[in-house]
Every structure is written in structure tokens, then in C-alpha cells.
């Protein structure tokens, strides 16, 4: 009999299904994976070391660039860690705004995920629909912070500014004109909250559209059902969190179990899977979009009824208003000190985690009392998930590796940091 030897295959780092710069060295027996060795770090920027060399506030923007499809959730973990060490608490309205934007971010992330994952597995249309809704939410990001992605909106002590009274409108252009222009601007007549109201009323029907394309789709089910099965025990051994853990039937969500911001006041459900395969994780994430939509609606309702401050009135950590600075010497000094030196955080250490769309995103912060952190460590869910790759894909076919990369919901900004 002819002897067939295993051969080694290289996948990435430049590959459309690698979701960035993942390089896999795979040992193959025919089309079956015998062993796989993921090489990461091609996007390593030393974020944690950079953060050690600048004042606390200057690193918030770096957090956006970790998991660059769930920006504000990353900021939330970092900002919470600083607030814990400072011993300050954001005003109630700021906490509602954070809750709302965490959920907007979750929808943004899951839309990106559903689109790219479907694209990887051969369904072209989904990403086009998903980006339609992503665009609307990007506009919300822009309206509130001025940036579509890297917002730097959460600050220790609250959020940068209150919600805008106006949504920006599309101008007439060769691409948007006439009845089309009128239609896309019809949600944008009022404030940002009006816009979100209209968006969230409409969004569940959009989720139905994605489900129409995928949930009962024969090809989609062939590619995902029974693929990448993760048992609850395996998930815990490998430090999995988020949808990876819930897909295996473990009901664990920090928003419920260790609530932060205003999640304790929110009414929402935690979807869990049964079989722990790629299909169950798909269903979990789709349901999470619907639940996030519910949370946003509750936040919008509260925010409409309760105006108030969005930043603590402590000039040691938050800048005074421009008007105050023009008239008050103290305010001017505070402003100068805050922006040239920053604030000193009392010595101590803390670990603060948030339920980011991909899992538990944590920030371990050590301060020695200085105006710069002594050590920042960012616990990225994708890093822990990807490390289990070898164990899970052994015995699968090569094409299932792509399904697995998709279901991990990897973003290399946070894996490599």
C-alpha cells in the first residue's frame, strides 16, 4: 500500500477568512486537521506598555483600537478600573448612557460578526444588509463623540458630553437625492434619542431579515451544525466567556451576575445554547441583538425623562466648562493641571471586567499613586478563545477551521494588543 504522509499547510496571515492577521500552521492528513498552531502577535503594538508611559486619560483612545468593532466596551473596562481606584462614581445619567452605548456597541459588533461569518461560509448577502444597520449606529457614535469608530467617549467620572439634541442629516448628493434622501432623513428630524427610538422600533424586523437568510438555510446549517462543539467543561477549562460559554449552555453573563453601570435595573434575558456548536452560538448572538435592542429602548425611555449631569463635578479628574474657565482663575488652573499633568490615582490595584460582545473584557490596573499607570493589563476574550483552537479543530476538515475562526468572533486588535 502506498504510504501517505501528513503535510504542513500555511494559512494566512493575509487571508480574507483570517479576520485580520492570523497565521495558522496546520498539519493535515488529507483534508483533516491533525494539529494546528496559531501564530498571533502580528498586530502587537505594545498598548499596555504605551499606557504605562502616559497619563491615564491619554490611553482611553488606545482602548478603542483594541477590539476595534466593540470600541466603547473596551473603554468601559478601562474607565471603570480607574474609577474604582479613584473611588469616584459616574452620575446616574452617565451610567445610563454607558449602558445604552454598551448595547449599541454589542449590536455593532454582532452585525459585523454575522456579516463576516456568513461571508466566510459562503453567504454573500448578509454582510450587505448588516452594514446597512451598522451605518445607522455608526452615525449615532459620530453624533455623540464626533468619531465613527474610535470615540474616546467614556471618561473617568462619566462621559465626555451629553447626548446631542440634533442628529446630522444627509445632504443631497449624486448618491442620495429626491425621495431616497427624504426617506433616510425622516428618522433624523429630532434628537439622537428620537433617532434611536425609530431605530430600535425597526431593528427587530431587520434581525428577522438576517434570520430569514440564515437560520433555516440548508447550506448554513450544513456548515455550522455539529461543527466546533465545545462542552461546558471544555469551555471553562479554556477560560471561555461570553457567547462561547453561553453557546455551551452555561448561563453566565456579567451583566446579570456581576452587574455594573445600570444593568441591574434593566429587564433582559440571557440566551443560552444547548449543543455548544457553531450554530448554537449563532443563535445566541442573534438573540443577544434582540435583547440589546430591548435594553436600548429602556435606556432611551429613562434618558428622555431624566436630564442631569453626565460628569462628576470634580475638577481633579474632569475639566471645567469653557465658560467657567473664562471667568474663574481656579477653573483655569484646574484645566491646565489636568491637561498637562493629569490626575494622580491612589496606589492600589484592581481588576474590572465588562461583558464585552466577545466575552469578558477585563482591565487589571496597578497604580503606585502616580499620574501614569504602573501596569495595565488587558484581558482580551479573543486571546483566551483562540488558544483553544488546536484542541477544538483537531479531526475537523480544513473548511471547518474557517467556521471556527468565525464563531470565535476574533478581532486581532484585542488578541495581539
Amino acid at each position: 500500500m502506498q504510504e501517505i504522509r501528513n503535510y504542513t499547510m500555511n494559512f494566512g496571515p493575509q487571508h480574507p477568512a483570517a479576520h485580520g492577521v492570523l497565521r495558522l500552521i496546520m498539519e493535515m492528513d488529507g483534508e483533516t486537521i491533525v494539529r494546528t498552531d496559531p501564530h498571533v502577535g502580528l498586530l502587537h503594538r505594545g498598548t499596555e506598555k504605551l499606557a504605562e508611559s502616559k497619563p491615564f486619560n491619554q490611553s482611553i483612545g488606545y482602548m478603542d483600537r483594541l477590539d476595534y468593532v466593540s470600541m466603547m466596551c473596551n473603554e468601559h473596562a478601562y474607565v471603570r478600573a480607574i474609577e474604582t481606584l479613584l473611588g469616584i462614581e459616574a452620575p446616574e445619567r452617565a451610567q445610563y448612557i454607558r449602558t445604552m452605548f454598551d448595547e449599541i456597541t454589542r449590536i455593532l459588533n454582532h452585525l459585523m460578526w454575522i456579516g463576516s461569518n456568513a461571508l466566510d461560509l459562503g453567504a454573500m448577502a448578509v454582510i450587505l444588509y448588516a452594514f446597512r444597520e451598522r451605518e445607522e449606529l455608526m452615525d449615532v457614535y459620530e453624533a455623540v463623540s464626533g468619531a465613527r469608530m474610535h470615540a474616546t467617549y467614556y471618561r473617568p467620572g462619566g462621559v465626555y458630553r451629553d447626548l446631542p439634541e440634533q442628529m446630522s442629516k444627509y445632504r443631497e448628493s449624486p448618491w442620495h437625492k429626491g425621495a431616497d434622501l427624504k426617506r433616510i432623513n425622516s428618522w433624523r428630524e429630532g434628537s439622537m434619542l428620537d433617532f434611536l427610538d425609530a431605530f430600535t422600533a425597526d431593528f427587530p424586523s431587520k434581525v428577522d431579515e438576517y434570520e430569514e437568510l440564515l437560520t433555516t438555510n440548508r447550506i448554513w446549517k450544513q456548515r455550522t451544525v455539529g461543527i466546533g462543539v465545545v462542552s461546558p467543561e471544555l469551555a471553562q477549562q479554556w477560560g471561555m466567556t461570553g457567547a462561547m460559554l453561553r453557546g455551551s449552555g452555561v448561563e453566565w453573563d456579567l451583566r446579570k451576575k456581576q452587574p455594573y453601570a445600570k444593568y441591574a435595573e434593566m429587564d433582559f434575558d440571557i440566551p443560552v445554547g444547548v449543543n455548544g456548536d457553531c450554530y448554537d452560538r449563532y443563535l445566541v448572538r442573534v438573540e443577544e441583538m434582540r435583547q440589546s435592542n430591548r435594553i436600548i429602548r429602556q435606556c432611551v425611555e429613562w434618558l428622555r425623562a431624566n436630564p442631569g449631569p453626565v460628569m462628576v463635578k470634580n475638577f481633579k479628574v474632569a475639566p471645567p466648562s469653557r465658560v467657567e474657565m473664562k471667568q474663574d482663575m481656579e477653573a483655569l488652573i484646574h484645566h491646565f493641571k489636568l491637561f498637562t499633568e493629569g490626575y494622580c490615582v491612589p496606589a492600589g490595584e484592581t481588576y474590572c471586567a465588562v461583558e464585552a460582545p466577545k466575552g469578558e473584557f477585563g482591565c487589571y490596573l496597578v497604580s503606585d499613586g502616580a499620574n501614569k499607570p504602573f501596569r495595565v493589563h488587558l484581558r482580551a476574550p479573543g486571546f483566551a478563545h483562540l488558544s483553544s483552537m488546536d484542541t477544538i479543530v483537531r479531526g475537523h476538515m480544513l473548511a471547518d477551521v474557517v467556521a471556527m475562526i468565525g464563531t470565535y468572533d476574533l478581532v486581532f486588535g484585542e488578541v495581539d494588543r
Binding site: G41, E52, K54, D368, A370, K372
Partner: protein, 244 residues
């Protein structure tokens, strides 16, 4: 011992492990410091025993305590030297490889530690373990890969960035830095600007490494202040921070 002490994690840890662990609780976060030699036995017990059941290792990271508490901008006494005192100093980002700070020998506290965050899903609790490495020149910690397989990459990362060696790790390779990287970049005596830069050389038609051309530069001096406002905040924190 009161009832709350018995049911608190710190109380349970003290009862079970005695002097092996030095347990403190700050802001509802429980931290246990232990010797590297005890780590493996303690970790196995923490995972398996019904009172603890730390089924998930959430995170492991290295930390280098060199220069902890050092400042460049003295705020206690007024200096006659002006801002120049703010542009000198030894903190991160100010030195290149030749001028890196070196330890001052015996009286320096231990530098390297591995910090582990554990999570118990069953009891909904967290615990932080800190293990100091005995030897600064060869930091060694036992590997926990046989207790929680998910720690594999975290240990590789700590090895890569801090040079902490995890004894018993099946595959202790670099993970985040470049192929062929030299040094452990997150150590406090590693320059922020790095040692080499990489570019494509059109003459040789290949990618080449060269010594860095950028200069170390810091815009904001590192300073420690004991602000009255923050002390106020700390006093309030002791009363009613995180009641829920």
C-alpha cells in the same frame, strides 16, 4: 470568627490554607499572595474543592515592580531648577538600551510576579493570586497548564514580555513579539523606543533590521501627589463605595 468571616472568601481561604496564603480584601476584591513552591497544590485545591470551585482561570499576567513609586517631578519641595527637573529621570520612555536603569543589588525588593485572576462560576466569585519570583535574574514560576489548560497562552505571553519562565509548560515559545525578537519588552528596563527598527531596503531588495533612529522623549513627567480631593474620595469610598 464571625459568621460573615466564615462565609467570606478570605475567611474560607484562611481556614483552608492557613499561612500558605497571605490574604487581603480591598474593595471587595480578594487577593492572595503565595510562594511559587505552593502554587501548584493551591491551584489544584482551588479548582477542585467544593468550597472554592474556581473552574475558570480568567487571566494571568506578568508584572515588573522595578521602579515602583519612583517619581521624576518632586512635588514636596520646591526646586530652583525649573522644568528641567521634569525632563530628566529614569522612568519609562526616557532611556535607550545603553542607558537603561540597572538594579542596585541586594536591598531591592523582588521584581517579577505573576498575577492570576480566577473566577468561580458556581459561587460567582473572583480571586486574585500573586506569585513573586524568587530570583530576579532567572524568574521561575510553576506552570498551571495541567490545572487549567487555558493558561497556556497567558503563560507564553508573560514569558515573552517579562521573561518569566513557567516550569513544566509544554511549549514555552514567544507569542506576541516578532519572530527572532531579542529581549523582554515589557520589563521596566526595556526602552519604550525599542532596540531595532525594520524597513524594506530597495537596494538589497529585502527587509532589514537597523538600530532605532528615534530619540527617547517624554512629554509628561511622572509624579505622585497626595491630593486632598482624592483623600476625601478615599474616605468616602471606605463608607459606601460599591454597596451593591
Amino acid at each position: 470568627m464571625t459568621d460573615t468571616q466564615k462565609t467570606s472568601l478570605a475567611g474560607q481561604l484562611a481556614a483552608r490554607f492557613g499561612d500558605t496564603l497571605a490574604v487581603t480584601t480591598v474593595r471587595n476584591e480578594t487577593v492572595a499572595e503565595l510562594a511559587a513552591a505552593d502554587l501548584f497544590a493551591v491551584a489544584t485545591a482551588l479548582r477542585d474543592e467544593p468550597a472554592f470551585r474556581f473552574s475558570e482561570l480568567i487571566d494571568l499576567c506578568g508584572i515588573d515592580y522595578l521602579g515602583y513609586g519612583q517619581v521624576e517631578w518632586d512635588t514636596e519641595t520646591v526646586s530652583g531648577t525649573g522644568f528641567s527637573r521634569g525632563v530628566e529621570g529614569q522612568a519609562q520612555g526616557r532611556f535607550d538600551w545603553a542607558g537603561r536603569p540597572r538594579g542596585n543589588g541586594e536591598n531591592q525588593p523582588r521584581r517579577f510576579a505573576a498575577v492570576i485572576q480566577l473566577l468561580s462560576i458556581e459561587h460567582n466569585r473572583r480571586l486574585r493570586l500573586r506569585v513573586f519570583c524568587e530570583d530576579d535574574s532567572l524568574p521561575v514560576v510553576p506552570s498551571l497548564t495541567s490545572v487549567w489548560p487555558g493558561v497556556n497562552w497567558f503563560e507564553r505571553e508573560a514569558f515573552d514580555l517579562y521573561g518569566i519562565i513557567f516550569d513544566g509548560h509544554p511549549d514555552l515559545r514567544r507569542i506576541l513579539t516578532d519572530y527572532g525578537f531579542v529581549g523582554h519588552p515589557f520589563r521596566k528596563d526595556f526602552p519604550l523606543i525599542g532596540n531595532v527598527e525594520v524597513r524594506y531596503d530597495p537596494e538589497q531588495q529585502r527587509v532589514i533590521y537597523e538600530p532605532v533612529s528615534i530619540e527617547p522623549r517624554v512629554l509628561v513627567p511622572r509624579t505622585i501627589r497626595d491630593d486632598a480631593d482624592l483623600m476625601q474620595a478615599r474616605a468616602e469610598a471606605a463608607d459606601h463605595w460599591r454597596e451593591n
